[in-house]
Structure formats: C-alpha cells, structure tokens
C-alpha cells in the first residue's frame, strides 16, 4: 500500500467523520499503531468539544425583544403579501448539501478513541496531558473494586485517594454487568466505566484536572454518553434491580 501522508487536514476529517473509505480505514490503522497519531486525532476532537461548549445553547444570549419584534413584523407582512416574489439572486443549496453526517459513526469513533486513550494512558479532558495519571492509576485499585461490588449508585464513599461515587449500573446484552462511576481528588476528576467478568475491568475512562472556575466542557459531544451507547448500555438498573444484580455478581 502506498504511504499515506497524515496531514492535519486528513486527521481532522477523520475525527469529524468526514473522511471517505479507504482513507478512513488507513487512518484508523495508523491510529491504532501510532500513539502520536491517536493523540493528534484526539486533539481535533477536543477542539471540537471545546468550541461546542463555548457556543453551547445554554450560553446563547436571548434575542432582544426589538429584534424579535422587527422580524415578526417582517414575517407578518410577508405572509400577508401572499404572492411570493419568484426569482432571486440567491442560489439555492445544491443537492449535495443533503448529505448528512453519520452521528452513530461519530459516537462510535469517540468511544473507540477514548478506549485507546485509556490503553495508552492518555486522557481526554480539558487538557490532554500524558503523565499526570493520579486517579487513572487508581481505577484498578482493590478499594475501587470493592466499592464496585457493594456500593449502591448515588452514594459517596471516601477513599484514601479521593471520593468515589457510582453513577449508574447497566446490564449489557451479553449479560455482563457494567458500572459508571466518578473519582474525584482535590486536583482531578475522572469518570470511568468498569465491567465485571470474573473481576472488574475498567473499560473506559476520562480524566481532567479540576479548574478553578469549575468549568466543565460538556454538551452534545459527551464521550461518556457516546461510550455507554456504543456498548449498548440501555437503561440503568435501579434500586432493587441494581441490588439484586450486585448480589448475584458477588456470588
């Protein structure tokens, strides 16, 4: 196969789900083989998340009443006018515009990248900074495993390295039990998923430093939600269903 030159544009298009086959497959292969390629792709994903957060709907200023009123008046006069004025100097969109992105592919990609990030010891977070692996290093701690066996969702537990809280519990189609949980120290917060076969294995993790402003990038591109969807987590088990599942798993 000819050498693929991995420009920023190609890696970005891959991160955005805009790359056609077979180039996408070649990039996926390169990503799996080369951590620096994976890191560059993750940076492009991160920049998208950051931009989306900065422009999130929650931060969108209200439309001033005067503008709203002016446009409503235009619309009313246009609709009263009835006859549309045919012909214009504005080009209609091309058919090609209809091509939509594939949201599922995007989410699956986000999830697989995050899984690779975990394997490589990278974090997808506010800053992708290798080598500050405080909480991530604790994911396989026996203390964490113990709480995963016993803690009900929603309860905080103090551990030597920080506070742990199980968020929710899921039963996958293949029968395995998975739990989403958070670890929080004074400087760092991590969200993770662990699934149990004979013992607990972390399958997904995101960690980020806690910023002074308490600002958390979030929104449509939530990798945790994408990951849970990609493994077919479905609805969480609650109350008795959760307690029963934990009791069975502990046996």
């Amino acid at each position: 196969m000819s050498q693929l030159h991995l420009t920023d544009e190609i890696l970005m298009a891959f991160a955005d789900g805009e790359l056609e086959e077979p180039t996408a497959a070649a990039v996926a292969k390169a990503m799996a083989e080369d951590p620096t390629v994976a890191k560059r792709i993750m940076d492009f994903q991160q920049s998208r998340r950051l931009t989306r957060s900065a422009f999130s709907m929650a931060l969108m200023p209200d439309v001033p009443p005067e503008l709203q009123a002016a446009v409503l008046a235009q619309v009313a006069s246009y609709e009263a006018d009835g006859d549309s004025k045919a012909g214009s100097d504005i080009k209609p969109p091309q058919d090609a515009w209809i091509r939509r992105k594939r949201p599922f592919m995007q989410m699956a990609l986000a999830a697989s990248l995050a899984a690779i990030a975990l394997a490589l010891g990278y974090f997808v977070g506010w800053q992708a900074e290798p080598g500050t692996g405080g909480l991530i290093a604790q994911l396989e701690s026996p203390l964490v495993h113990h709480e995963l066996n016993s803690s009900a969702s929603g309860k905080d537990v103090e551990l030597p390295f920080g506070r742990m809280r199980v968020i929710s519990t899921y039963r996958l189609a293949n029968g395995s039990l998975c739990r989403e949980f958070q670890l929080r120290s004074s400087t760092e917060a991590a969200e993770a998923v662990a699934c149990r076969n004979s013992h607990w294995n972390a399958t997904f993790a995101l960690a980020s430093p806690i910023s002074d402003a308490g600002y958390t990038p979030s929104g449509g591109g939530d990798p945790m939600a994408a990951y849970l969807q990609s493994i077919g987590a479905g609805q969480p088990l609650v109350d008795e269903a959760e307690a029963k599942a934990l009791a069975e798993a502990g046996r």
Binding site: D43, S47, M60, V71, S88, K91
Partner: protein
C-alpha cells in the same frame, strides 16, 4: 410560497444572531445584520428549496449580507475599525449571560482567531454543518475550509493548553 419559512426564521434567530456576532463582533451591528438578512430572505423565499437545510441557506444569506455591508461601508468611506469592536464579551445589557463566557478561555481563544478561521470553526464545530455545507456558505473550495479549520483548531489547542 414555502409554508412555514417565517416560523423557521423566527426559531433560527438566536443562532443567526450568534453567527452574526462571530462575523462582526458588535452586538448592535449583529442585530442589524440579522434583521437585514431576514428581510432579504423573506424577499427571496422562493429560492429556498424545501427539503434542503434551512439553517445553511440562512447562514449564507446572512454572510452575504455582511459582505455587502462591508462593501457599502468601504465605498461610503465610513468604514469602522471592526477589529476594535470586541464587544462579544461584556457588551452592556448582556451582563449575566456574557460574563459566563468570560469564564471560558476557549471563548477568548476563539475570539482572537482571524475572522476567516473563526467563521469556519463555528459553522462546523458549533453549528455542526458538514465541510461541504460550510464551503457553500463561505463560497470557497472544500480544501480551503479544511485548511482554515485545521489551522483554527490547532491554534485553539495551543492556546488553551498554554492557558
């Protein structure tokens, strides 16, 4: 006449206004742009093809209106120095909402990008338009969209990592 274009237009106002702010960075000017673009869209409603993306069509009208505005200002010799109008953050009357933007290093970083990078970044990463849609709106080849977008995002990561 396409039914419901008026309703779609009103529903789109917050996003139109946001894009106008990205273009001109002045609150009063952004509102004028949105109003002018809406007027132009209604006058040309027949050129919108139902079934195609209304938001992309409107963004294009808005941006063309902005370019016409710039051209007019230039010929009338009263071009404002728009680079001085950085009112996106902290404009009077928008305090409670925009002060939250101040929290965001990201917002500041985006604001410091050149306009050609800012607009493509917002269309693709905030408005979720495809590269092709962004290329149509900006009237540039898709390769230009990609190089500007990659540059903007690389810069954004550099700036937020350094912050």
């Amino acid at each position: 006449m396409p039914a419901g274009i008026g309703q779609e237009l009103v529903a789109l106002l917050p996003r139109l206004r946001r894009f106008a702010l990205v273009l001109c960075r002045s609150q009063p000017l952004a509102d004028d742009l949105v109003q002018g673009a809406c007027e132009r869209a209604l006058a040309n409603a027949g050129s919108w093809t139902p079934g195609t993306k209304f938001d992309a069509w409107m963004f294009r009208i808005l941006r063309n209106y902005w370019i016409d505005h710039l051209r007019r200002m230039r010929t009338e010799g009263m071009m404002e120095d728009i680079s001085m109008q950085t009112q996106l953050v902290g404009d009077a009357g928008e305090g409670p909402i925009l002060s939250r933007l101040v929290l965001s290093e990201v917002q500041r970083a985006i604001d410091s990008l050149p306009q050609e990078q800012r607009e493509v970044l917002v269309l693709v990463c905030a408005e979720d338009l495809s590269y092709r849609e962004a290329a149509e709106i900006l009237d540039v080849p898709i390769g230009t969209v990609m190089s500007r977008l990659a540059r903007a995002r690389r810069r954004l990561m550099e700036m937020t990592a350094a912050a």
